[in-house]
Symmetry: D2
Subunit: 191 residues, 4 copies
Amino acid sequence: MYHLGIDDGEFIRGTVPMTKQEIRILTLAKAHLEHDSVIYDVGAGTGSLSVEAALQSPDGHVYAVERNPEGVRLIRENARKFRAGNITILQAEAPDGMEDLPECDAVLIGGSGGNLVRLFDALDAKLRRGGRIILNCITVQTLMQCIAYMREKEGYTYEAVQVQVSRLQQVGAYDMAKAHNPIYIVTCIKK
Amino acid sequence: MYHLGIDDGEFIRGTVPMTKQEIRILTLAKAHLEHDSVIYDVGAGTGSLSVEAALQSPDGHVYAVERNPEGVRLIRENARKFRAGNITILQAEAPDGMEDLPECDAVLIGGSGGNLVRLFDALDAKLRRGGRIILNCITVQTLMQCIAYMREKEGYTYEAVQVQVSRLQQVGAYDMAKAHNPIYIVTCIKK
Amino acid sequence: MYHLGIDDGEFIRGTVPMTKQEIRILTLAKAHLEHDSVIYDVGAGTGSLSVEAALQSPDGHVYAVERNPEGVRLIRENARKFRAGNITILQAEAPDGMEDLPECDAVLIGGSGGNLVRLFDALDAKLRRGGRIILNCITVQTLMQCIAYMREKEGYTYEAVQVQVSRLQQVGAYDMAKAHNPIYIVTCIKK
Amino acid sequence: MYHLGIDDGEFIRGTVPMTKQEIRILTLAKAHLEHDSVIYDVGAGTGSLSVEAALQSPDGHVYAVERNPEGVRLIRENARKFRAGNITILQAEAPDGMEDLPECDAVLIGGSGGNLVRLFDALDAKLRRGGRIILNCITVQTLMQCIAYMREKEGYTYEAVQVQVSRLQQVGAYDMAKAHNPIYIVTCIKK
């Protein structure tokens, strides 16, 4: 049976960076997905978030937007591996290619390519009231752009946490702490 | 509708320490609960983990073990508030009082009172194969006792992560990082 | 004898926030103080950084700028307690009151009041080539303003680290992790 | 002029793990070195701690104990590069080879090879009253052994912090957080 939080090693990965298990769990929990949610995964990378979102919302649909051809291939392979049939892949750099998508309930942003303001403006036209945008970021600039946008824009609230995970690796008789990079998770709620 | 990860402020709290939202989400995800899981919550505190476990497993049952009378009262109040009818509270210091409980699929340990070896031995007699013990700890000693036990005991594997969450508080025009204490989450799987 | 890194409990403290020992050590090390450095401590708070800077640069001088009267009093008391005679206190909100100060070799910024651009512009007129500005910050906005300024301004390089310290408190037979808030330390070097 | 906290990139490094700048600064500050301290550096690795200790105590002496031949070579090269003439290298696995060393004021332990109890017993015979042992560790077992020893042994106090540093890497227009592994720094003081 599927449980939220697939092990990282289960995903097919190339050289594309992948959201790690604990961050994926928190991101999906904060998205408040329903069984029939419509979800965009922007900068979908390996598709690990898309796959878990699709499995959390089996009667819903995930639109995975990814510009990188290797990423597109990995999303397709991971969707097949985990039998997530409700994923549509768009090879594009968001917000390009999103015009014709249906309204959505949740947006997961792992990579934004750069133009976060244009992206948020486009998403605002698609996101239902009560919907949520969950942004994962490792750069100061992306965090700041998101916060600045959400503070200025009417109709949104946000909360942000920084999460730092270290995994204890079992090496012989020892458990050694191995750090993952710290991630900011920003939850933006459309009122 | 219920979503994993109730806001901390929603729980009724006295002076009893409470597992924070992000740690609760990760703990419950790592427990791999099913709709009908039988769960022990050891050192249940305010009952925040019990409540969410009960809501994740609506056809299952949660046994919340807590020695502190204030804790017992809070668990009862929180169970009522969140309409989690499938929680039974035992006022005891685990492993005392656990003899007559049914077999379980998952154990959540937020507080152990001290005798972790005796607790693990007692739990081992109750936990089904494939079941999981998820230990949250903030002390070096508890972490070390758990790891030492799991390394020595046949029939278990474990993984451990340390999670450090900081919340960005919105204070006027600023977002200030406010640290939560770091927590080790150890996932022990009975083979 | 004086050693860098006075214990936090040694300082006289009111309700004013104080830079913690480990952050103080790193801040002062990154300032590359000489025995005769001229140092500004902006937003000096309790004076913990001023005192240690003064003791590191016994033939130099520290100008502690602090707007809060309670802070001014604490700086004075701490300077006396640690026999740091080479501290001059300015009750002002920087950059106000800094016009008549001599050129400096290092600037420590623990609190900026808000107008970081105006502060940096004023400091630039005072800081010698090769001098260093060390900014401690806990807000996203201050970090971003500093980075944006240093990226745009010619003649500076910077490096930044985030430091998260947890102290193990000895409580009975246990060592419990107690988190301090994470701090960004930005080191700006004038070429 | 020498300042505490040489940049990591300045050290000659092979494949030997190296204590990172911020941890080196804190370790040396907590050692309370005097100009004439006698210091042991146990598990000296690349010699980064030995070099900085030698430069902090120019009238003292550093005994660098390292079993790995590549480490021995790197310590020698780094001592030469930074003109630290007051370092003696012992190729041995501590506590072996330490019998004939003079009494010491401070001990830095970056790597212990495994037998921490035997090491502490041997060090206790050499460490002056008021002297300090600073242990850096990344494994739960080493931390626990150190704490257990210091709690049981009469005549010592200890304090411990966990330090997690993330460096902001400047990548194009972005500053990306890159985590170092978290380190426990235990300061043991002989009363």
